[in-house]
């Protein structure tokens, strides 16, 4: 009997504003507990929230990126419940009228492209953190509260139940993760909780109405997301096949035991007593604001992929690689811009180097693109000398390594020697002068009569040996293509 798994995700994206959504306190991660909690975050008596326009702007950017509708008037509501890390006793969140309605994300899966529709995206504040272990001086019965995270802006992105496997859900989450970083609204740091998912999972026979769902809370890695969904779907299927039925629940995933556990059932669900927050007038977003955000919007990955294919002549695979992150795409674009020639050959050359040498070196030394020892302009400087034949591929790699090393050593890169200076100093200029190459070829033919005889007897390998001799005689500087051509001609 085959089952269909139905998955919808609710993703909490921490917006990359410097200050909190309703207060001026910093959102930086990792400060000492409660040092980044203002009077508003502590919910002292008498304080009031003021909306951070930067958070609203990021929500608009997201809405535009996914083709959703931006509500000109959205409403902040209070979600009431008691918990020690929720200082006001309510969370301010958009409920009935969110800022973004609809939209969709196109996801590349093994079976091809899949469109995941979005229900909505709404602004809300994060809660603080409860610490139950490792408190200084605390016995087992003491809990601590850290309100540094309280009031951090979140955009909760709610998908339709459009995914049919854990792999699809992960592909959607990865695409969304790349998108929010691409448009600069979230740092994407999953270890720090900047991007976390709740998964709604149900199972059914294909064509049957939706089954009863369970919500798995707070999945903060793609691996956990995959494992939690797989476990939960199996659990539900087994339950039904054993004659039982799924009970609507909120569940937690335990990565150590790879299982989900019930947190609370439907009957224990809170009555959050939502109502519009009287401290905040409806959030008004006018057309002019939306237009400003639209104009400042970067080219989206999908559009850039298409452009790389049609305008740069880059293949689909390489285009997808180059647009995997905004930083890499920007790096590629900057290197292209710094080259004098802007043709398909030049673009292909840049793509090969960015995805090849550059990415390999970056992986080896584990540095961020922004901090890479070779900035895009410098790579362009190098590739210019490859394009004009000054450097052979192997010589260029040699110079690249030297630049990488020099750049890693210096903090600014300003003192790093120019590509041309290195070529000059190390005499790396490729010999492309036909006369000089002919002279070298003649020398080698004269000095290797036996090999020449082998070649003439039909041993193709002998030819390679002669090429090697010429290259050696030129100290590696002869243009290999020219050496090939001249040698063939001379050997007739």
């Amino acid at each position: 009997m085959n089952w269909e798994i139905v998955i919808g995700l609710e993703t909490h994206t921490q917006l990359s504003t410097a200050s909190k959504i309703f207060s001026g306190a910093s959102t930086a991660f990792g400060a000492a507990p409660n040092t980044q909690a203002s009077a508003v975050d502590l919910a002292l008596p008498g304080v009031l929230p003021v909306v951070n326009r930067g958070a609203v702007e990021r929500a608009i950017r997201f809405g535009l990126a996914v083709g959703g509708a931006i509500n000109r008037r959205s409403v902040f509501a209070r979600k009431n419940y008691f918990y020690p890390d929720l200082p006001k006793g309510y969370q301010i969140s958009q409920y009935e009228i969110p800022i973004v309605k609809g939209g969709a994300v196109v996801v590349a899966t093994e079976a091809g492209e899949k469109t995941v529709r979005l229900v909505r995206a709404h602004l809300e504040e994060d809660a603080g953190k409860s610490l139950h272990e490792g408190l200084p001086g605390g016995a087992g019965d003491v809990s601590g509260i850290d309100l540094n995270r309280a009031g951090t802006p979140l955009l909760e992105i709610v998908s339709e139940p459009d995914m049919r496997s854990a792999a699809e859900a992960v592909a959607y989450a990865k695409t969304l993760h790349a998108l929010v970083m691409w448009i600069g609204i979230c740092d994407g740091n999953m270890q720090e909780g900047s991007f976390r998912c709740d998964a709604n999972v149900s199972v059914r026979k294909p064509g049957a109405p939706l089954g009863t769902r369970c919500e798995i809370k707070n999945l903060n890695s793609f691996r956990f997301l995959q494992q939690a969904i797989e476990f939960e779907a199996r659990r539900q299927i087994e339950l039904i096949e054993d004659g039982g039925s799924v009970v609507q629940q909120t569940r937690l995933y335990d990565p150590e035991r790879n299982e989900t556990r019930s947190m609370r059932g439907k009957e224990e669900a809170h009555d959050y007593r939502y109502f519009p927050d009287p401290d905040l007038p409806p959030l008004a977003v006018d057309d002019a604001w939306i237009e400003r955000v639209r104009l400042a919007m970067p080219e989206l990955p999908e559009a850039m992929r298409a452009r790389l294919a049609t305008e740069h002549g880059i293949g689909a695979y390489d285009a997808a690689q180059l647009t995997a992150s905004r930083e890499l795409a920007d790096y590629y674009a900057a290197a292209c811009d710094a080259l004098p020639a802007r043709d398909a050959t030049a673009h292909k050359l840049v793509a090969n180097w960015v995805l090849g040498e550059f990415s390999a070196a970056r992986n080896r030394s584990d540095v961020a693109i922004a901090a890479a020892p070779i900035p895009p302009a410098r790579l362009a400087e190098l590739l210019r000398r490859v394009a004009d034949g000054t450097l052979s591929g192997s010589m260029a790699k040699n110079v690249f390594d030297q630049l990488w090393q020099a750049g890693s050593g210096s903090s600014t890169g300003a003192q790093v020697e120019s590509v041309d200076a290195i070529i000059e100093r190390r005499g790396l200029r490729q010999i492309s002068d036909t006369g000089a190459i002919e002279a070298l070829v003649e020398q080698v033919i004269a000095a290797n009569a036996a090999i020449v005889a082998d070649y003439r007897a039909g041993k193709e390998k002998a030819f390679n040996s002669l090429v090697g001799q010429v290259m050696k005689a030129s100290k590696g500087k002869a243009n290999p293509a020219q050496v090939n051509a001249v040698l063939r001609r001379k050997l007739g």
């Binding site: 008596p45 008498g46 304080v47 008691f82 509260i145 939502y274 109502f275 009287p278």
Partner: protein, 501 residues
């Protein structure tokens, strides 16, 4: 007791010093301890401020209210001076910051002497629900002064200080002003910032002021009003001098061309005979000053009290959630787990009326009841505002009684919340609409208890209301009557005991 305007003149010509004025206020407050008008008095701080005020007057760089003693309702944050909201929950709470209006009034030169008593969390119409004991009416200490800002009203009525702040959520400035024979103004919602005011019902809470005259109210409001970026409901408007029209010389018919609307609904059953008579007399006086009166209808206003008692508790139930014992305020001493910590803390920290309203508010917001109660109440609220908009198209101001009765005996309505709530029947609408309103003294009952006239206006029409009240006060002297000097109370020392409990 002199007005702010009179005291300011005396201070500026140096016939009176700020220190003398502050000492006088502190002595009066001390002598009137039996009224229980204050929760906290800080004499040393007041005298320091008074000395600084004298220095400023000497340097001649003094802002308009320099040296004027003032007290703030204990709902406003005052840095370094405790803010209790008259609740056990916050009995020892000291805020690290000043409320916006506290800041503004300090910058205007006022000398803060202390914090006034009130109904716990501003929930009440009698100032009896305070953790620090009931406030007494100086006109008859058997009676309540009204509420919730009863302490502020009494402090001004008894001549202890010339000015005090209050908050008005359903009449909490105007009703005690009426019951104690002083002026009290509730400006348009959004004119004074709510930052630093402990929220009761956020969409209704309005900071305002008590003083002896309309002119003084105008001076206070001019200092208090203004945009505050920390309150998203604070309105960005140009600064306004609310006393600007008051300076025009008095004339025989200063209110010529003024149309006063008289809502038929305000002159029906439930109105005490003596109150009705005093209001009629006041209207005759206003007509004599040139005003014409016109009957208006406010058909939806009969729903104001029930609408209010859905919306206000709903907002309160959420606003008071932060008092959970986790970060500040009262926390139960013994508890086995988190749930019990919450339950005991809140059971011990809140009084009966606060609990009643949290329960009602929680109920009306509950799943399945929201539409029938909260949403419906908001819809009726809009209809009430429409009524006022229509009425104010036919007239310039609306007049009527502030409260249906004069001051009642302490305890008389304490066990009957509905009777207590009905005392706000005429004041609540202005909170639901957000329109400005004030109460001014307009007579006394045979038993010597004050009666208040309420004037309501359209949005941002504070200056016009104040002008009408000022012209009335130029022609009458109700606002100059003072209650008998405070007698040593039979329960002398009451306040100290209550404060210490």
């Amino acid at each position: 007791m002199q007005t702010i305007a009179e005291l300011s003149r005396a201070l500026s010509v140096r016939t009176l010093s700020c220190v003398e004025l502050a000492q006088d206020a502190l002595a009066r407050i001390d002598a009137a301890g039996a009224l229980n008008a204050f929760v906290t008095v800080d004499g040393a701080r007041a005298l320091d401020a008074a000395r600084a005020a004298d220095a400023r007057l000497a340097r001649e760089d003094a802002p308009p209210l320099t040296g004027i003693p003032i007290a703030h309702k204990d709902v406003f944050m005052t840095a370094g001076m405790r803010t209790t909201c008259a609740s056990r929950m916050l009995a020892d709470y000291v805020a690290p910051y000043d409320a916006h209006i506290v800041e503004r009034l300090r910058e205007a030169g006022t000398v803060l002497v202390g914090k006034t008593n009130m109904d716990e969390f501003a929930m009440g119409s009698s100032s009896e629900t305070s953790y620090f004991g009931p406030v007494r009416n100086p006109w008859s200490t058997r009676c309540v002064p009204g509420g919730s800002s009863g302490g502020s009203a009494v402090a001004v009525a008894a001549g202890l200080i010339p000015a005090a702040t209050g908050t008005d959520t359903g009449g909490s400035i105007r009703q005690p002003a009426a019951l104690t024979g002083v002026c009290g103004i509730k400006p348009t919602y959004g004119v004074c910032s709510r930052y630093g005011l402990i929220a009761f019902a956020s969409s209704l809470d309005t900071p305002g002021a008590f003083a002896r005259s309309a002119e003084d109210c105008a001076l206070l409001l001019t200092a208090m009003a203004g945009h505050d970026a920390r309150d998203s409901t604070s309105l960005a408007r140009p600064a306004e001098d609310y006393a600007r029209s008051l300076r025009a010389p008095a004339s025989a018919k200063p209110l010529a061309r003024l149309r006063i609307g008289l809502p038929r609904e305000y002159f029906r059953e439930g109105l005490e005979r003596e109150v009705a008579a005093a209001i009629e007399a006041a209207l005759r006086e206003l007509r004599a000053l040139g005003a014409t009166t016109v009957d208006v209808d406010l058909p939806m206003v009969k729903h104001a009290v029930p609408v209010y008692y859905v919306i206000a508790p709903a907002e309160a139930s959420s606003n008071l959630s932060r008092f959970d014992g986790v970060r500040y305020g009262h926390r139960a001493e013994r508890y086995a787990d988190l749930e019990e910590m919450y339950c005991r803390t809140r059971a011990e920290g809140f009084g009966a009326e606060v609990k009643r309203r949290i329960l009602v508010g929680t109920y009306v917001l509950s799943h399945g009841y929201y539409d029938a109660y909260y949403l419906k109440a908001q819809q009726v609220r809009r209809l009430i505002a429409n009524d006022f908009a229509r009425a104010l198209a036919q007239c310039d101001v609306i007049a009527g009684p502030t409260a249906p009765t004069c001051a009642f005996d302490i305890g008389a309505k304490a066990d009957d919340p509905v009777q207590m709530y009905l005392n706000d029947i005429f004041t609540i609408a202005a909170n639901l609409t957000g329109m400005p309103a004030m109460s001014l003294p307009c007579g006394f009952t045979a038993g010597g208890l004050p009666i208040g006239l309420q004037l309501q206006g359209n949005y941002f029409d504070e200056a016009r209301i104040l002008d009408v009240a000022h012209r009335y006060q130029q022609a009458t002297d109700w606002h100059r009557r003072s209650p008998p000097s405070p007698q040593p109370s039979p329960h002398g020392g009451d306040r100290e005991q209550i404060t210490a409990r």
